[in-house]
Symmetry: C2
Subunit: 223 residues, 2 copies
DNA sequence: ACACTCGTTGCACGACGTGCAGCCACTTTC
DNA sequence: GAAAGTGGCTGCACGTCGTGCAACGAGTGT
């Protein structure tokens, strides 16, 4: 038979594994969008993806897991991108740019992922799953922010200030991460709510900018 | 037999219902604390509370629900208390005072509730459940905040300004609520992490004040 | 005392999620 | 290129979850 041209990379077996995983994920999203995730059984998803029930659970531990897979990896990308931003940018600036970079990925706003995102707003079971991802993302972002705060402060005021501001028992970075992610979540939510049919990336950028601007300015409007 | 002195209130049947509900809840928390919630079955909880399995599900739709019941009602109290704060206080001030009032309730920091709160930080399944409550709380707080912003602005600048700032498509209040609750969550989390044995309400107050102060001051430390 | 309401209970059933063992396509080694 | 191995797919069994339904009986209003 034909021989693999020594691609050297993942290997055929691994490719097949990823293919089935992707097939299962896509089937899960498609059925969940069509019927609502509550009305879809794992068995039907497996059937649609032409795998056994057991195989489904070999890749995902629940329907929610399957639908969430894409969003989860994007969340990780955001943090990675944030780490990559130059130190010259302020924290909120860096976060904004990181978000924009992730949004500019080809598939980020594709129909498939968009449909999955819309699902997250409705179903309680998906909302629930979100919290686990959210806290992990918070911790990762907090760690990244701590480094950024630390090095930035060190450059300007020396190591002592860095210790105070950057680490500070990890108190402030954690707060910052939680608050900032909450803002992004609301921005995304707003955008999903307003754009019924036509996905307008420009509006999403505006929403994000708006939210982050409010954060920078302080949140006690009376004063 | 003896006759009820016409208390007029809840009625005996209603009281019994609440009693079983509370017994089930307490049993759930007790067992979850002792063995970890993953290792506790609903059947064992029902057994410990001396009710049937079916009765458990008549009151709660899952273990998580039972453990969460207390925290959920406290969340609602916070919003109610926030609504009750005088208009003279700034939003963050009002929220702070509301939080303090809720904390001052006799049972708020009791051993039982405290143990339940500690559980919420660990188990993924409880973390998940948290998100549903969080979004509901966000919506409620956003609505309350919108009113507050609206009336405050109306008193000072007239109705036009109120419409802009208060409603504004509900954009800002929603953001404010999400961000503020994220901050409170982190404050509570921090406090639970640091106080291993001795529950020190003073420290919690300090954590809350610290978090809210950061919010008021803006969250872009570089600038 | 009578009829009525409604919380509790048992039963049945579909769905969920995991451990285990066999099968076989792919992979590595010689 | 054949033999030994690795690892993904599959079926099966089992315990748990959560809900609909009907019966029972304690509490309630007339």
């Amino acid at each position: 038979m034909s021989q693999v041209p020594a691609g050297e990379g993942p290997g055929l077996r691994e490719l097949k594994k990823l293919a089935t995983r992707e097939a299962v994920r896509a089937a899960a999203v498609r059925l969940a969008v069509r019927d609502g995730i509550e009305n879809v059984t794992v068995e039907r998803i497996a059937e649609a993806a032409e795998v056994s029930l057991r195989t489904f659970f070999n890749h995902f531990s629940s329907k929610e897991d399957a639908v969430f897979a894409a969003a989860e990896s994007r969340a990780a990308e955001l943090v990675a991108e944030f780490r990559r931003r130059p130190g010259g940018e302020s924290p909120l600036q860096a976060l904004r740019e990181a978000a924009m970079v992730v949004l500019d990925r080809d598939d980020a706003l594709g129909r498939d992922h968009l449909a999955a995102l819309r699902l997250l707003r409705r179903a309680p079971s998906l909302l629930a799953r979100q919290m686990v991802v959210l806290t992990e993302q918070e911790d990762a972002l907090a760690a990244a922010a701590a480094e950024r705060f630390g090095t930035a402060a060190a450059e300007r005021f020396g190591t002592a200030a860095a210790e105070r501001l950057g680490t500070d028992d990890g108190r402030f970075p954690q707060l910052w991460a939680a608050v900032v992610l909450a803002a992004l979540r609301i921005a995304l939510d707003r955008w999903l709510a307003e754009s019924t049919a036509a996905p307008d990336p420009g509006r999403l950028r505006a929403e994000i900018d708006d939210a982050l601007t409010h954060l920078a300015g302080g949140l006690d409007p009376r004063t």
